[in-house]
């Protein structure tokens, strides 16, 4: 149960590495990226056919490749939500009424998969997968601090930005602390707990209680340390965000291609049939 904590630390280190690679998306101003990807996800949610989703997915894969994000990282991050949505749509082909497309004999019964059910299951899964893919691409190519910085420049509330950047910094500290507490607890145990769930629940909860107290005490110390360094309730940032022609070019190109995919059924010389294509 403490392994997740280590995974988080490892994953965030890898994120930093991907975000500092010399690729297409990494070079774009994070403000532009934030707005562009938000619009891209809006367009994705509005798509109506499986072929459009495939086109969008292909577009994302090309962007990932141009940003030197390994395919494994991109698909690995999106696989969890893919499996989750597949489980959700699993009953759909059987319960949706419509023309049968596959019939399995199952003992004395017949298992009938309807065409409409399979279609709506595919549509839902693809929509979720592609929108999550777009968000993943944004997070893999942008440092979290850069995203926060651009939110600040896009006039999000100051208190919110300040709190978030402080919180982000301390996540790693507490993750490390919680992991050490868990390790110490396991070291004190005579045998591995298996079935006694209630006791596990109690131990973890009281650990969280202890962590809470430590967090509180740390918060007081941090404030004093900040005061000693001249904190006056305002944060000043050193780095400047600069946007230029290439950022506008990127934004226009990305949105043009997204809209092209959206309008594809109306401008395609080959008719899109049956919703699938």
């Amino acid at each position: 149960m403490f392994k997740e904590l280590l995974k988080v630390l490892g994953e965030s280190l890898r994120n930093e590495e991907y975000a500092s690679r010399n690729g297409l998306l990494q070079a774009v101003d994070p403000r532009f990226k934030l707005v562009c990807f938000f619009s891209l996800i809006v367009v994705t949610v509005l798509l109506q056919s499986v072929l459009q989703f495939l086109l969008m997915l292909f577009f994302l894969i090309v962007l990932a490749a141009a940003s030197r994000i390994p395919q494994r990282a991109f698909f690995g991050r999106t696989s969890l939500v893919l499996v989750f949505s597949l489980i959700i749509v699993l009953p759909l082909p059987f319960i949706t009424p419509g023309s049968p497309c596959l019939i399995f004999p199952l003992g004395p019964w017949l298992l009938i998969l309807s065409y409409e059910g399979v279609y709506s299951a595919a549509l839902f899964t693809m929509r979720v997968w592609v929108s999550v893919g777009a968000l993943t691409l944004l997070t893999l190519t942008t440092r979290f601090t850069a995203l926060l910085h651009s939110m600040d420049r896009l006039h999000f509330p100051k208190l919110f930005i300040q709190l978030t950047s402080l919180t982000y910094r301390y996540i790693f500290l507490f993750t490390d602390e919680a992991y050490r507490m868990g390790l110490a607890r396991e070291a004190r145990m005579v045998r591995k707990e298996r079935i006694v769930h209630l006791r596990t629940l109690r131990t973890i909860s009281s650990m969280i209680g202890t962590l809470f107290i430590r967090a509180f005490e740390r918060g007081e110390k941090i404030y004093q340390a900040m005061l000693a360094r001249g904190y006056s309730g305002e944060t000043r940032l050193l780095s400047q965000l600069q946007s230029g022609g290439k950022d506008w070019g990127f934004a226009v190109g990305l949105l043009f291609l997204a809209l092209l995919i959206y309008f594809a059924p109306f401008i395609s010389p080959v008719p899109f049939i049956g919703g699938w294509f």
Partner: protein, 229 residues
Amino acid sequence: MHIPDGFLTLVLCAVMYAITILFLIIAFWRTNRILSEKQIPLMATLTAMFFTAQMMNYPIIGGTTAHLLGGPILAITLGPYAGLISMTIILLIQALFFGDGGVLTFGANVFNMGVVGTFIPFLVLFAFLKVKPNRNSLLIGGFLGAFLGDLGAAVAAGLELGLSYPTFPYGVSIALTAMVIHHSIIGIIEGVATLVILLTLHKARPDLLSLKRVAPIITGDLPPLMEGK
């Protein structure tokens, strides 16, 4: 509980954003007035701590796991509005850094876990302490508040999913039933965890249970705990 992008219709996403932003405006206004800059690092460390706590999974029977949401305990210690801000930050980092939840559904997620998930526990505990401000009310009210808060958040999520039909392939009746059944188990866990954390705090640092809270104007702060029988 974290609804990813693509589950909800755009119109519903926009409506949930509008409702959540309304709550957030009030929350920032109240927090700026009540908390001084001294509390900012404190709120940040507590938020970071609950982010960590959310990653510690409890095994439940059947091989599945559940984790703490943290909303109830944040609402009890910092007040529901400050709890809402903390939950917003947690959800933002989860969405933008770990891909848990989405950006279009962000408003809905904040509403479920940050608004419903903090205000219900606060109000339930408020009612309990109003009747009898002792340790037992704190523990029972904390447990029940956390349970009902989790259930309320699940009901809100189920309704949002169901109302998104046909973008979400099931209607209100199925979505709501599934969410409520699942989260009545998770709610009990959240309740027990909240109770144990309250117990730890009450024993080790009872002063942490009487911090300055950002509470709604109508109810005011929680009644102070009376010690001794």
